[in-house]
């Protein structure tokens, strides 16, 4: 589904990512791990087109992706839940969800009931402004919003950051549900080890902008993965 080869990324001269080879499949959770500042968010930016890679290749479903603007990638089925959530603060919860309609043909522009089933709080808060929600509610909204356009690749950047345990559990259940549905590949960037380990099918561990360890859950022991992400 998703494949990168030798992907590199720079911020005005300073190199952040070094030759990332990575893959993610439909119906699997591919977990990207690593300590602060190793370039996890930068990798998701390259995949979502919000900051383009400087070299290497990127293919989606066999299609080579050049460096299209982010909105074009979104229309190809890449949905992004950024770190910090980026809710539209002055728009209602419903309107936040509806921004995703941009990727859909006119006749498919409705909010599927499924989204409210996954996140009942969004139904309750439908008319509330996004910026007035709590952090946990905003995270649920950000994930719900990413699902509107039925993506084939879902990019999640630290969805548990600053969120209380019961909401984390709920988000975990949603990710499992989406994986088992099998319609999308899920790339999860996460530092909360137990959460990530529990959900992951595949691991990619980054160290200073390069992949230092990768493999399926079966091929790696928990201790190996844990050791590779501890400072």
């Amino acid at each position: 589904m998703l494949q990168t080869k030798d992907l590199t990324l720079h911020y005005s001269g300073s190199q952040i990512l070094y030759g990332i080879d990575m893959a993610a499949e439909r119906g699997q959770v591919t977990c990207v791990m690593g300590t602060n500042g190793v370039g996890k968010t930068s990798l998701l930016k390259a995949l979502s087109g919000t900051h383009h890679r400087s070299g290497g290749s990127y293919t989606l479903d066999g299609e080579a992706i050049a460096k299209p603007p982010a909105h074009a990638l979104a229309r190809k089925g890449v949905a992004y839940v950024p770190q910090g959530r980026d809710i539209f603060p002055l728009m209602t919860v419903r309107e936040n969800l509806e921004t995703g309609f941009a990727c859909l043909p006119r006749e498919e522009r409705f909010v599927p009931e499924q989204i409210f089933e996954l996140f009942p709080v969004l139904k309750e808060m439908e008319g509330r402004r996004g910026g007035d929600l709590s952090g946990g509610q905003q995270q649920q909204l950000a994930i719900g919003r990413a699902l509107i356009a039925q993506p084939k690749l879902l990019l999640l950047d630290e969805p548990t950051e600053g969120i209380q345990p019961n909401i984390i559990q709920q988000i975990g259940r949603v990710i499992e549900y989406l994986r088992d549905e099998g319609k999308m590949a899920i790339v999860l960037v996460e530092q909360y080890f137990e959460f990530a380990y529990g959900l992951a099918d595949e691991f990619f561990v980054l160290t200073r902008g390069a992949v230092s360890l990768s493999g399926s859950k079966a091929s790696l022991t928990k201790e190996e993965v844990m050791a590779s992400v501890s400072v």
Partner: protein, 298 residues
């Protein structure tokens, strides 16, 4: 009593003129944050469009009906061209935007002077707008002012509808609140910025036709309104249309009030007004209608 009513009506109609003049700016400056010094020239362009139409179509009613959408089209196109060629390279650089658009403003005035000359061109209103609605000896209000008031109301409703109830409006708000995230949701921010700027400019064009009906159409028409327009948007509260309405009302009543107590000296009246506004902004820096709550980033 009558005098107060007369003054009130005067102020109200001045307020609706300011509202009309400022509402396009409420979009380009208020919503998008672009300081467009050439906003007044879009008003002028609209007024000249009306004048040109009247040269071709002699029937005054028909010509106004043609002029309104045509002025929108002309200034919409001019706005889109300006956004594509200049503004989009200068987003988030207010000083450069100010200088560049000021340059464009001067250039547009000069072009208008070259084409239409320096003398004022008439934009004649249809006969049915000529009279006045006479309440009694003291209080009367010309139909044209009523028409402008009605036009202002129509605009208010239309714009609120577009921004809050249409797909375009939703995308405009998404792009202005977070362009990067809007793009990640599949919205093309370039296209939306272009259309939004075009919309604001087009509305200025329509306002130009209305203003041309009672003011003299000259190349300086726009500069007469640019300061008041910015004041209206800033006083009302940047980023929302209701604020612009409130700002126009305040400034309209204020100006008429000052003129009433100080009838002979317009320069002094202007000065008092600017002093008042500076003081006002000190106390309410976000304008009359400030966005409230956690969402506003307090």
């Amino acid at each position: 009593m009558n005098q107060a009513l007369d003054l009130g009506l005067d102020a109200l109609s001045l307020a609706s003129i300011y509202f009309l003049a400022a509402i396009g700016l409420a979009i380009t400056f208020g919503v998008m944050g672009v300081i467009n010094m050439a906003h007044g020239e879009f008003i002028m362009m609209g007024a000249y469009t009306g004048y040109v139409v009247q040269q071709v179509v002699p029937d005054y009613t028909l010509s106004i009906i043609i002029a309104l959408p045509l002025a929108f089209a002309v200034t919409f196109a001019a706005g889109v061209a300006m956004e594509r060629l200049v503004i989009r390279h200068l987003y988030h650089r207010p000083l450069e935007t100010l200088l560049a658009t000021f340059g464009i403003s001067v250039a547009l005035q000069q072009i208008a002077k070259n084409i239409f000359g320096t003398q004022a061109r008439p934009l004649t209103s249809p006969a049915w707008l000529d009279g006045a609605w006479v309440l009694n000896d003291v209080v009367s209000i010309s139909y044209i002012r009523i028409a402008i008031f009605v036009l202002a109301l129509i605009f208010l409703t239309l714009l609120l509808f577009v921004l809050n109830r249409t797909r375009l409006g939703l995308e405009v708000r998404a792009v202005t609140q977070n362009p990067r995230m809007a793009a990640s949701m599949g919205i093309n921010p370039d296209r939306i910025n272009m259309l939004t700027f075009g919309l604001g400019s087009g509305i200025a064009g329509i306002a130009g036709v209305a203003i041309g009906l009672f003011a003299k159409v000259t190349s300086e028409l726009g500069s007469d309104y640019i300061v008041q327009s910015f004041m209206t948007v800033v006083v009302g509260g940047v980023g929302n249309i209701w604020g612009t309405l409130a700002g126009a009302t305040l400034i309209g009543f204020l100006q008429k009030g000052i003129e009433f107590f100080n009838p002979s000296n317009t320069l002094a009246a202007q000065t008092y007004m600017i002093i008042f506004i500076i003081i006002f902004i000190q106390f309410r820096p976000r304008g009359i209608i400030a966005l409230k709550g956690r969402a506003a980033g307090d």
